[in-house]
């Protein structure tokens, strides 16, 4: 069963809609037993970093998520804020992140030549796959819908599987072992998002 973690952070309806379209049934849940029995996890998220961590704590989800992800090695994908929560910390807040991938979340900063670029980075942008990740199998010229003001900086290049340019290159997709993060919204990115989620859900 695919479980979409419900911690009251953002738009889950559209993920359910897309999974249904590609033939997967998913359940929105913050029930510890259900999460424990999940064979795939999705950590969505729209909102601020500290609110996200605070809610994960309030719903008592951090221990079970650590167990599922780090011990059971259940595949998980963090989307947007969900990806940022996977990192050690964020410039947006003070609370520590989940720290599953050695990375930090920082705010977009532009030099003079790009001072006109707006924050948030909003709209469709291309992703250039890195390190031959299977997540991009069958995807030609992948492009996705982004809305974010912060981005992830990885300590280890091998954890970067997709890059995108906005003023400068930033890491739009990351992966370490069973842990994935996507800065964009695959659930709102037409066939590109469908294929990417299919690839993720097909991981054994």
């Amino acid at each position: 069963m695919v479980i979409i973690i419900d911690y009251q952070m953002g738009n889950i309806g559209s993920i359910i809609n897309m999974l249904k379209k590609i033939g997967y049934e998913a359940k929105i849940s913050n029930n510890i037993d259900e999460i424990n029995n999940a064979d795939k996890l999705i950590l969505p998220g729209v909102g601020s970093f500290d609110n996200g961590m605070k809610n994960l704590k309030e719903f008592d989800l951090i221990d079970i998520l650590n167990k599922k992800v780090l011990e059971d090695k259940t595949p998980i994908i963090g989307i947007c804020l969900g990806m940022q929560l996977i990192t050690n910390r964020s410039e947006e807040g003070n609370l520590p992140g989940l720290g599953w991938i050695d990375a930090e979340t920082v705010k977009f900063k532009f030099g003079e030549e790009n001072e006109k670029l707006k924050i948030p980075h909003m709209g469709w942008n291309t992703v250039i796959p890195q390190n031959n990740s299977n997540l991009f199998n069958g995807l030609e010229e992948p492009r996705f819908y982004f809305v974010h003001s912060y981005h992830v900086v990885c300590k280890n290049n091998v954890d970067i599987i997709g890059k995108t340019n906005y003023g400068h290159n930033f890491n739009s997709v990351i992966n370490k072992d069973n842990i994935y993060g996507a800065q964009f919204h695959p659930e709102k990115s037409h066939k590109y998002g469908m294929l990417l989620l299919k690839n993720f859900l097909g991981i054994n």
């Binding site: 738009n11 889950i12 309806g13 559209s14 729209v46 707006k118 909003m122 469709w124 709102k188 990115s189």
Partner: protein, 253 residues
């Protein structure tokens, strides 16, 4: 590279889609769910649906229709029409809608925009401004589907809405709506220059060159089109369509 967003702006009247001219004489152009499916195939950037009867008839947003659209809409989806409280907004976001557009009620109760932005984030809140050129070329913000002129001009109102927490402005020229002879560049430019949030130009698009005009000369961050994406040819035969992606990329980059 970030691409300029081009989005169909479609009008809901009950279960049907309609298209107006200068906000008048709505003509039936099709079924919303089928239309969304076609736009999926064409990989449209984003979609806006506005219910033009909700505010006028003082009714709630049509949740059932919105839900059916959302279940087929695999691109960002903005809904506007009749949203006046946080509970209705929450219902709509939970259905799978990314952004809510507020028009008449933003003038009636500007604080509502702050409330929405604080609860759901600025990026989820679009303020829709309908502007009409009056005597001596002065623009006024209109509400109630363009039927009621307010005391505000679009520039000062857009500034106020940005302060309240709006994430985007959907700026529609009532005079150019459905005319298909180009956007009101003067109007777009005045508002784009006054705010830092994205301005979506709407009203008047007749061809892809008009998009370029709104972006390059008007300073719009994104463009919306109505007639152009539901009609074909001089006689306005209904045909749901969308310009070729490569052509748009070449033109707008």
């Amino acid at each position: 590279m970030l691409l300029t967003r081009v989005m169909p702006c479609l009008l809901l009247r009950n279960w049907g889609l309609v298209k107006t001219i200068k906000f008048d004489s709505p003509k039936y152009v099709g079924d919303p769910i089928n239309t969304v499916r076609i736009y999926n195939e064409k990989e449209v950037d984003e979609l806006i649906f506005l219910d033009i009867t909700a505010t006028k008839n003082n009714k709630q947003p049509p949740f059932q229709i919105i839900s059916e659209i959302a279940s087929e809409c695999f691109m960002p989806f903005t809904y506007g029409g009749g949203i006046k409280n946080i509970e209705d907004a929450k219902t709509i976001y939970n259905i799978g809608v990314e952004k809510i557009a507020v028009n008449s009620y933003a003038l009636e109760n500007p604080e509502f925009i702050s409330e929405l932005a604080n609860t759901f984030g600025n990026q989820s809140v679009v303020v829709s401004i309908d502007a009409k050129k009056g005597f001596f070329g002065k623009y006024k913000v209109c509400t109630q589907g363009g039927t009621k002129a307010s005391k505000f001009n679009p520039v000062e109102f857009a500034i106020m809405m940005e302060k309240m927490g709006a994430g985007e402005i959907l700026l529609t020229s009532i005079d150019n709506d459905g005319v298909m002879e180009g956007y009101d560049i003067e109007l777009i430019q005045s508002v784009s220059n006054a705010v830092n949030i994205p301005v979506i130009a709407c009203g008047g698009a007749g061809c892809v060159e008009d998009f370029k005009d709104a972006v390059k000369n008007g300073g719009a961050s994104a463009v919306a089109a109505g007639s152009m994406v539901v009609y074909q040819g001089k006689n306005r035969a209904v045909l749901i369509n969308f310009p070729d992606r490569k052509e748009l990329e070449k033109l707008l980059s």
